[in-house]
């Protein structure tokens, strides 16, 4: 009835500890790879007025000219947008932005390491092409410029998210303690904290590109998945404890039996969640949403890891300790009762 994975707690703990410690060091030194938020980028802007500058079909032509200029300069952009000009926000009497109707901006965003020289060369090529093309009626107002853009950090969301996940995990596991016992809650808490940290650590170590808001979202998902998968085990543990033969089993045998009975459910639940997130990632492949879904596979995988390996192995020790305490308590109560009976 023994299960080898239950005897490898030092190994699972060491794996988690190494990854988490390395992750914390990297988080402290480098933070997360928030490249998706473009913390440092270059923008190449082409301002144009559809009435003054362009004849029909001019917008497409403008895009073609810019792309030719980039190809000539040997650079490629990460994102292209057409932005509609708005009246400047200068008056409190106005209630909202309103479109000027004629001003537009064609913005190309490049990685931060694209050199200014190449952008300058692309700018010169684009300006020359615009000047020489009859599609542009008054090329002087079609203006090209490029900039270095640096995102200013806002950290409140990050630390509040971390506090939120920590508090939520503790409170949820108080509920687990009430319903399933302190031992289950302690193991669950370790699993939740482990999974949240493991997720963050892997994000930091593997330098997986994420949006700045996302790390704590993934930590929260890891905590939820971990709690749910551990609850599946807890329910079976409680049921098993009610069996008449439960007293005859050691902690390891008992946990091994429960693991065997619930492994399929845990795999199914985690596999289903992974499949759902994967399908969402695949469907949004060509959009900015894809990285959000793709990285969400990580916390689910972390939850599966701890639910299959770390938590059951840890619970063997925790359960053994609690079982011993329970037996001692029973013996003490028995002695007390015998003494009271003798006195009577």
């Amino acid at each position: 009835m023994n299960n080898k994975r239950l005897q490898l707690l030092p190994l699972w703990a060491a794996i988690s500890a190494v990854i988490i410690i390395a992750g914390i060091v990297l988080m402290a030194l480098l933070g997360f790879n928030t490249a998706l938020d473009k913390p440092s980028a270059k923008t190449f802007d082409v301002y144009y007025n559809v009435v003054v500058d362009l004849s029909e079909g001019g917008e497409d032509k403008l895009k073609d000219l810019c792309e030719d200029a980039f190809a000539e300069a040997g650079i490629s952009y990460e994102q292209a947008e057409v932005l509609e000009g708005q009246t400047a926000p200068v008056s409190l009497n106005q209630s909202g932005f309103s479109s000027t109707g004629t001003d537009f901006l064609l913005r190309y965003t490049f990685a931060g390491d694209v050199s200014d020289e190449k952008l300058a060369s692309a700018k010169a090529a684009a300006e020359a092409a615009i000047d020489g093309d009859e599609v542009f009626l008054t090329p002087a107002e079609t203006y090209v410029s490029f900039d270095t853009v640096t995102l200013q950090p806002m950290n409140e969301a990050m630390w509040r998210g971390a506090v939120g996940v920590a508090v939520a995990a503790v409170v949820a596991l108080i509920y687990v303690a009430i319903r399933f016992g302190l031992g289950c809650a302690l193991t669950g808490l370790v699993a939740c904290v482990n999974d949240a940290f493991l997720t963050l650590a892997v994000l930091a170590i593997a330098r997986i590109p994420v949006y700045a808001f996302a790390p704590m979202l993934y930590a929260a998902i890891a905590a939820v998945v971990s709690a749910v998968l551990w609850l599946v085990r807890c329910m079976k543990l409680r049921d098993a404890a009610k069996e008449p033969s439960a007293g005859a089993l050691s902690a390891e045998e008992s946990v091994a039996q429960v693991c065997r009975e619930t492994d399929k459910t845990v795999w199914l639940a985690a596999g289903l969640t992974l499949a759902v997130v994967l399908v969402a990632a695949l469907c949004t492949l060509a959009t900015g949403a894809m990285p959000v879904f793709a990285a969400a596979l990580l916390p689910v995988a972390a939850g599966l890891y701890s639910s299959m390996l770390l938590a059951p192995a840890l619970h063997v020790k925790v359960k053994a300790k609690f079982d011993a305490m329970k037996k001692k308590h029973v013996r003490y109560e028995g002695k007390k009762k015998a003494k009271a009976d003798a006195e009577a």
């Binding site: 009246t87 002087a140 996940v165 979202l217 969402a280 469907c283 949004t284 959009t287 900015g288």
Partner: protein, 501 residues
Amino acid sequence: MGKKKSVVLLVIYTLLIAVLCFICTVSFSYGTDNLYTFSSVMRMMEKDADLGLAYGANADAGAYLGGGYSAVYYPEGVISAKEYDDNIRDMSEEDAADYAADYVRYPGENGSVYLEKGVAANEDGTVQDSFKEAFASALSVVTERVAALRVDGARVENTGDYAIRVFLPAMMDGEYSAMTIFSYTGPFDLRCGTDEASAESVFNITSKYSMHDYVSSVRARSSGSAAYVEFDFTDLGRDALAEATAGAAETAVTLYFYVGDTSVISLSVSETYDQNTLYISGSYTAETASAVAAVFSTALDGTEEDLALTAGDAYFHPALYGENTVWMLYIAFGVLFVAMMAFFFIRYRRLGFVHLYTYLLFLFAMILCGWGISFVYLSVESFLAFLLASVLLCVSDAVCFESARKEYALGKTMASSVKTGYKKVFWKLFDLHVVVALIAFLVAAISISALQVAAFVLGLATVFSGVATLAVNRFGWAVMMGTSKKQGAFCNFKREEVEDE
């Protein structure tokens, strides 16, 4: 349940689902030349800055939900290269030369800004050290103001070294006014008088007393639908304000709340104001009050030397993740929905309809909440949270079905199997939902912006999932099964085969 009763209830249930489906998902144009448009709830639901979608009768004319606006704040002494070109283009040669002599292009001949000599740049074209410090301070103040909004998607960028680009999501209340007042710099000043021109400062700022000796904090508060800006005065500030408004009972005066040279709020006072706290409500929403409070709060540390900022170059950004992202999310949902129903119909045959109705009710409840709850909106994160809750509902329904299947296999009647099956899993599913909802709501209560909304959606969907699986699903099962004579076949449940000895 009798067959007639079942049929009647099933028809009502189906009609309810059909109506909800129509309201939540169907949009169409009607009337002469399609003048009017009926927009579905899904279409009218707020989208965050990453997503965006045209909606309503004016969809063709640009009515849009989602996306956001950006504007650039240029400090005094800095103009964009485009503005410089626009200004110089029509000047005479002589004027152009004079104008050109006043400016230096930064950082080089391809720079995107021009610095004015004597204000931002030295005569030799290098940037003044004092300007660098003042700009760093202005950038920090603007960042603090935007961060104070705690709005998902809001961001501040330093662009071209000496300009500040602010992006605010369109789903905000009053993103225009926030963008406008965030450019106000300088110290806070409270003036009192019968008119703006003659109003005098209430607080005497000297080398001995700073503004913090009079005003301890400025915060935004909200209670229900009312939002207001709260000024907390120190005792010294309270005395000064009481003294300034002493004659207000005889002659009404107005309090003018200045940031730098701009009056942001004016407040009529008709009696002596002698309290430590002043609440100003007006027509604020929680977000506009927060923006105003952020401006005043940062202005408490403002000085006359602060750089003046001018807002310009405003643009609308349709959707940061790409204009098709919303449609891709809908497609992802469609694929998952088809896969889910294929599983339930294959494994449980007509019992799949019970899950279908339960899931649709859950879905429409979530859509209506996403539209009806003011701070909930459609984002990739909230969609992900919804998907996770959907997995929970599907697994819960399958667990209930499997539990009943086991009971039926033992030879019990269908009614008894369902009852016992539910009884066996009720507390397990209850615990599961309580734990997920607890985590989700606590994270929502403590965190801010994107994570807050995603966690709230997960919590809400988990509650709905619990109700759906433990109550609605069972009701649907009873109703639908009542219409069938062969209840085992209806559910694709089979008796356990016992071998004859």
